[in-house]
């Protein structure tokens, strides 16, 4: 199989269309499963009166997605810039919206967590502030791209911003270790016994898997839109492949 073939938008467009249901349907099933385990299985096992912990399933998954998708966006933007690959740049544009939305969810759910547990909706602590900067980087990338008319120039400008902004991701991740933050330390650490029960961990990881599958599905759908919008004068579109 010649994979290079799929680096051209005209070849990737129909392939992406076939791939979407394979991500969208499992995403819906896993979202339902994560919520079922999180709300109906985990409470019995946790035996905890403080039910506010239910927020962490969506909060942690959204926060991770915000960071993962940023790194992925920067990688695609970088590839698009370095190798002049327009499909990779379109992928970066598509990722930016979904990444920004997950970051927004992590900030809002974080506020809903902060009020009952720490007594405040918002604090200018290192992790919360660096996550807000992540959201601003996404918004900066999106507005920079929409402000420049020539798409390839917009891709290059976006790539510079995205790549420089990657420095913020390790800052978010290590902020709870480097600084004395109001935000608690990592919930899950490699090589350490987690502080959560099995069902809670299962709910969190299934939620994360669901968010990944969801992200792939919506990013591919948006990528198809971007391909059509940008290539509308190309022969393959005019011939009615859409």
């Amino acid at each position: 199989m010649n994979w290079y073939k799929y680096s051209s938008p005209s070849a990737f467009y129909p392939l992406a269309g076939k791939m979407i249901p394979w991500f969208a349907i499992p995403a819906a099933i896993l979202f339902a499963l994560a919520l079922y385990i999180g709300f109906f299985v985990a409470p019995a096992m946790a035996g905890d009166q403080n039910q506010v912990y239910h927020i962490i399933f969506i909060h942690v998954a959204a926060a991770w997605m915000g960071m993962f998708l940023y790194v992925l966006m920067a990688i695609y933007a970088g590839i698009g810039w370095a190798f002049n690959a327009r499909l990779a740049s379109m992928m970066a544009s598509s990722l930016s919206i979904t990444g920004a939305l997950f970051t927004l969810i992590s900030l809002v759910t974080g506020a809903f967590w902060g009020k009952p547990t720490w007594g405040t909706w918002w604090a200018w602590d290192a992790r919360i502030t660096s996550t807000l900067i992540l959201l601003f980087l996404y918004i900066g990338f999106i507005s920079l791209q929409s402000a420049i008319d020539d798409p390839r120039r917009a891709d290059r400008a976006g790539a510079v911003l995205a790549i420089v902004g990657v420095i913020n991701v390790p800052i978010i991740y290590f902020s709870v270790q480097w600084w004395n933050t109001l935000h608690q330390g990592a919930t899950i650490r490699l090589l350490e016994k987690p502080k959560m029960t099995g069902a809670m961990l299962a709910a969190m990881f299934i939620m994360l898997a669901a968010c990944w599958l969801y992200s792939i599905a919506v990013v591919l759908i948006r990528l198809r839109c971007i391909i059509l919008e940008r290539e509308q004068n190309a022969a393959w579109v005019a011939e009615g492949a859409a």
Binding site: I55, T98, I105, F112, I221, L228
Partner: protein, 49 residues
């Protein structure tokens, strides 16, 4: 299952359901807007032909 107790979340209902409602609105909104965008792109091409 005691539903009123379930929805009160031990007094934290506002925070827990507020969080999930936010996620539902944001992600659901993304899907709805995306479907509209897809429809309008495809229409442009049909109209050209």
């Amino acid at each position: 299952m005691n539903w009123p107790e379930f929805f009160s979340m031990g007094g934290y209902g506002l925070y827990v359901w507020g969080s999930y409602l936010t996620a539902l609105i944001v992600l659901g909104g993304e899907v709805v807007l995306l479907m509209r965008r897809m429809k309008s792109c495809k229409r442009i091409y049909r109209d050209r032909e």
